[in-house]
Symmetry: C2
Amino acid sequence: MKVLAPPGGTVGILGGGQLGRMLAMAAARLGIKAHVYAPEAGSPAFDVASAVTCAPYDDRAALAAFAASVSAATTEFENVPAQTLALLGESVPVRPGARAVAIAQDRMLEKDFVNRVGVPTAPYRKVDSLEDLRKALAELGAPAILKTRRFGYDGKGQVRIRAPEEAAAAFAEMKGAQAILEGFVPFSREVSLVAARGADGEIRAYDLTENRHEAGILRESRVPARGGAELSAVAADMARRILEGLDYVGVMGIEFFALGDGRLLVNEIAPRVHNTGHWTIEACAVSQFEQQIRAVAGWPLGDPSRHADATMTNLIGQEAEAWEEYARQPNTAVHLYGKAEARPGRKMGHVTRVTRI
Amino acid sequence: MKVLAPPGGTVGILGGGQLGRMLAMAAARLGIKAHVYAPEAGSPAFDVASAVTCAPYDDRAALAAFAASVSAATTEFENVPAQTLALLGESVPVRPGARAVAIAQDRMLEKDFVNRVGVPTAPYRKVDSLEDLRKALAELGAPAILKTRRFGYDGKGQVRIRAPEEAAAAFAEMKGAQAILEGFVPFSREVSLVAARGADGEIRAYDLTENRHEAGILRESRVPARGGAELSAVAADMARRILEGLDYVGVMGIEFFALGDGRLLVNEIAPRVHNTGHWTIEACAVSQFEQQIRAVAGWPLGDPSRHADATMTNLIGQEAEAWEEYARQPNTAVHLYGKAEARPGRKMGHVTRVTRI
């Protein structure tokens, strides 16, 4: 395996939010410099980067200079324009590659792909028209969820349809965007797996995590998840199929619905470090952020084993104003992302409670 | 307690080595910006700082601008000129204060102070002349160790005297610097305690650490130390006397000789984060680096309790070239400091092996 960025080398990170920030810090721990590229002035990741570029994602000159300054590049989020990744990929290795990101950007391509490698999802139908939607509802039944194919996150771009009569109103909410109807899944809980694949094909998975969402936004992640080693093994096998099927290099977050009968269905995949893996910072020798940097830089993947139990809670919007109270709590690691404005629903930080196993 | 630097605020760090680097990263985790001031271009801490000043410690204009940009300041090492701290202290809170640093800079003042607060050290004598040295040797006996009072670290500025005849040669090695003779202590092992005192007087100590030095340089630190809770409590009580006696604010590293009969003698104190506390990054929710930032910024101190066992090994000089091998080892967190040149004896990084308790 070829090392792209040894200690002293530079890795490029597209995106300057909290994930980019934690990636840059993980790089620094390994003696690797981080060059962060983001369009927004004052991006959280700029504070800890050894070089920054503040430019739009379609600025070809800025992208070329960025590519020339790094040995490998990655992205903190899946909605970076595919063209940006493709352009970078012409002059520098980009991990994960444009194909994996393109698939994860589109719920329809994603579900098609996941099922193709033998991993089940909820039933779904393509919805390009109101007629499509009516037909899909007839096939999948109500309730069901209509989702935009692209640019959805934290519950945005989704509408629940309780009865066929709601079809027209729901379709109008898509505002002409291509959509997908997902059939109702009677899941008992949500779990996720963060796994990585190195450039040499090695796969390493963290422990299965149990999650709780509120209003479409992750509220809490907990390890160990209920279900034990057996359920973890099922999830890890699904992860392997997906990572290998994409010839993926890097960290991926995979969200599952856990059904009452013990089956797992993939809800969605994220071609990046994942909010449900933040606990790995405290509970593992090598965090998901470092794992991603290792994969991108061509290092051996690190040991994902866990030396502590952990519960991660997101601090959303004004919740982060109680930082002093969190700072006093026992066994508690406080993470604040350096975002100036606490808009409702915005992830401002998180706390991880760590306990001995 | 007054918060000096809330999330979004800025803390100043004097010194740009690995300790400054890890302090800056700990600040970032809390959403606090770090402004690093160091004379050397390419200082390791510059890579992760949100602002940097590269200027000599006696550059009054640069210091004034630095002071104006931060809400509180600290130092990564005890050999920063006392005048620099005093100058900064005129316009911004500096923690620890100039007095504590001045005492720790001088082995003679340090030992006088430690004994004054009722904490024992090895026997010692002031040595300003060869005559002083001969007299001291007669009183303390040989073997004994002659040390410069100031600017000694990692075994530098020390010479062992095996017999009185070696006095003249040893004295010559001090090159006219003020010195101190320390009597031989038949210690069975070396332990250390990293403790912090907040601006409100609250004291928090990490677990006692067992250390092994080679050629005067720390090789390995291990928790838990042998001796259990009893020895930890003795060390913590000594730490409390020292921290309170200095009206200290911040993290301090205290090195002890553990004698065969169970007694502890203070070897030296370091008014800063300490190499023997690096394991706290992995094994505690709040590391020594974050604890220092909290104390400096006026935050509540964090919980120093430990959720894992750990062994930290320094990577010295060319040892860091084996980074890829370390990166493959299980349970191993690799830290590389981003130093360009691997000079013999130079601390280039460390690895921490973490295991479940």
